[in-house]
Amino acid sequence: GIQVEQSPPDLILQEGANSTLRCNFSDSVNNLQWFHQNPWGQLINLFYIPSGTKQNGRLSATTVATERYSLLYISSSQTTDSGVYFCAVGGNGNQFYFGTGTSLTVIP
């Protein structure tokens, strides 16, 4: 199956700092999605981004499908950004295979 690696595994930021999370995948994909799992376990959709660049407020994402990686940018981080960020990829269909996640802690 498709292997998905995320880096860094853990990240601690001061409030207001910027960060970049990376997702590498081992094969070509038709689907790629970024999620934020909050401390209560809820999965929140951030971006569906199999290719290209998208922005939503302080968050943006870029996927370079030909080079098999995606980046998630968080600017001006806030304590509410804390949690685990997952990248998930898939081929045809809507099955997704998740990376190991990046655990983000934003301290005030």
Binding site: G41, Q42, L43, G93, N94, Q95, F96
Partner: protein, 114 residues
């Protein structure tokens, strides 16, 4: 988009028993999926719930342990059978509203087996 309701939201069960988790979607969807998230781990796909036919299981998951039903295009159930403490996890239902589109997840069922 799709709104997904899972029941129960959490449960504590005795080992050796079974639990059935329900997933209800507010619209007809082609694809429904079940995932497991063990404590401190990422999400792992258990199976694709196919309407009108048997579910398709990922490697490492079997029908006897995780029987799945999908009677129509808005509903599915996952049963965790003969539970042991190692089955303690969050189980999540996911749907796709079209081919190669974003996935939507339910709020999950937090299962503890004692």
């Amino acid at each position: 988009s799709a709104v997904i309701s899972q029941k129960p939201s959490r449960d504590i069960c005795q080992r050796g028993t079974s639990l059935t988790i329900q997933c209800q979607v507010d619209s007809q969807v082609t694809m429904m999926f079940w995932y497991r998230q063990q404590p401190g781990q990422s999400l792992t796909l258990i199976a694709t719930a196919n309407q009108g036919s048997e579910a398709t299981y990922e490697s490492g998951f079997v029908i006897d342990k995780f029987p799945i039903s999908r009677p129509n295009l808005t509903f599915s159930t996952l049963t965790v059978s003969n539970m042991s403490p190692e089955d303690s996890s969050i189980y999540l239902c996911s749907v796709g509203v079209g081919l190669n589109t974003e996935a939507f997840f339910g709020q999950g069922t937090r299962l503890t087996v004692v």
